[in-house]
């Protein structure tokens, strides 16, 4: 369950943390997304979106690190 899709925040509107909304871009498709659950997110960040809400910020460094680790370790063995 819980179909959630990664997207990049283009712009943010609203100052009240509960009403902050972002225009999020998903590979050519854009939608307004509620940012109430990711108060630390800023424009340019990647977030995971479920039913119109960002539920987590994506840790890009972690993602990069893990993918490289997976490729490197396996190639070496």
């Amino acid at each position: 369950m819980c179909l959630a899709v990664p997207g990049r925040i283009e712009t943010i509107t609203g100052t009240d943390p509960l009403e902050r909304r972002g225009r999020v871009e998903f590979g050519g498709v854009r939608r307004e997304v509620q940012l109430a659950f990711v108060p630390e997110a800023e424009a340019g960040d990647w977030v995971l979106v479920h039913v119109g809400f960002a539920i987590a910020r994506i840790d890009e460094d972690e993602a990069e690190r893990v993918l490289s680790a997976l490729s490197a370790v396996e190639a070496a063995s």
Binding site: M1, C2, W46, I55, A56, I58, L70, S71
Partner: protein
């Protein structure tokens, strides 16, 4: 698509399956809890890529499948009222109640609307003060915070025509019932990554210790699932039973505090009926009395669940991972998505539907 396509890379997947094959020395039975993981496994044929001896068992992580028939019947009754707009996610539209389903109800003239977000339902309520808008709130812990936020938003807007028919369920209760069964064969778990994005995984330590099973918080793409399996097998082979996090780019140990706070404010934990399984304590959410005006059960009457009728559908066995869909005598025969005997065949996340769609009736 960034953060999606990289995790569908065939070469990475192959490397992970080789790693699993090297690690494995004995047969292991691992359950993936989440319907989204089931979907990925069957769609990409992941279980067929795994070495023989690693058995992936599908769990009850399909909130649509476990929604009691009485909730669907109540949704249909409410939808039939001329003053009501019944909003639902697409997933619930075809699930059969006792006599009908929401799409058929819509065809008969009811105002049933499929929405992408609970906030769309609030928007409809705001735009149509003369109508009663009821949102069928289904889903696990991932979807509860958006629903809670929708209620808070409705309160901020002073709406008096918006309410929820709640059918939110909680994953740990399902894991407990599976692990507590005397004939439980599940030796390791792939925990639901998006649920854990919200709840965190601090509570799983106790489950892992008590039942001596490794639990790996796992994502949804093929590389995620395979990496989760690899991490689980590694623990099983070395006799460890700890909680580990494969989905590190998304999930933090403490989860999402802001989302948890919204849920805590609007909902309380209750016992809930799981279709096909039974009544599980502390397994679902209900609207707190302070928000009663947004509770469809307060407006339209409580949903009362009767003892489940005898049925040829073996959904309970399937949801608990005790039977595979293709072992059911009705699978693909009397029971198909067009004429389903139970929810797992009609839900997009249901194990039966996934098997039939991607495997066919001859598995």
């Amino acid at each position: 698509m960034k953060f999606v396509d990289e995790y569908r890379d065939g070469e990475l997947a192959e490397r992970l399956t080789r790693r699993i094959a090297r690690l494995q020395t004995r047969p292991w039975t691992i359950m993936e809890v989440c319907g989204g993981q089931t979907h990925a496994i069957v769609r990409f044929g992941l279980d067929r890529l795994l070495p023989d001896g690693i058995e992936l068992v599908h769990g009850p992580g399909c909130p649509v499948c476990v929604t009691p028939i009485e909730v669907i019947d109540r949704a249909l009754e409410i939808a039939a009222r001329p003053d009501v707009v019944l909003c639902t996610f697409g997933d619930m539209a075809r699930v059969p109640g006792t006599h009908s389903d929401l799409l058929t109800c819509k065809a008969e003239g009811a105002d049933v609307r499929i929405v992408y977000s609970p906030l769309d339902a609030v928007g409809i309520a705001q735009a149509h003060p003369e109508r009663e808008v009821v949102f069928l709130a289904v889903g696990f812990e991932t979807t509860a915070p958006p629903t809670a936020h929708a209620v808070l938003q409705a309160r901020r807007l002073s709406l008096s025509n918006f309410s929820l028919l709640v059918s939110h369920v909680l994953v740990p209760a399902a894991m407990e019932v599976i692990l507590a069964a005397p004939d439980n064969r599940v030796q390791g778990f792939l925990a639901a990554g998006h649920v854990c994005a919200i709840t965190g995984y601090e509570d799983y330590d106790a489950v892992a210790r008590a039942h001596r099973v490794p639990i790996v918080v796992t994502g949804f793409e093929p590389v995620d699932v395979l990496e989760g399996v690899a991490m689980c097998v590694e623990q099983l082979e070395s006799g460890r039973c700890e909680v580990d996090n494969q989905y590190r780019r998304i999930v933090r140990r403490e989860g999402n505090r802001a989302a948890q706070a919204a849920v805590e404010e609007v909902f309380m934990v209750t016992e809930r009926r799981w279709r096909g399984i039974g009544d599980l304590p502390e397994s679902g959410l209900a609207v707190r009395p302070a928000f009663a005006q947004f509770d469809a059960e307060a407006r339209f009457g409580p949903v009362v669940c009767s003892p489940e009728a005898e049925t040829p559908c073996i959904a309970g066995e399937i949801l608990r991972g005790r039977a595979r869909p293709d072992a059911c005598p009705a699978f693909g025969a009397e029971c198909t998505p067009e004429s389903p005997l139970g929810a797992p065949m009609v839900s997009s996340e249901g194990a039966c539907a996934a098997y039939l769609r991607y495997r066919g009736s001859a598995a």
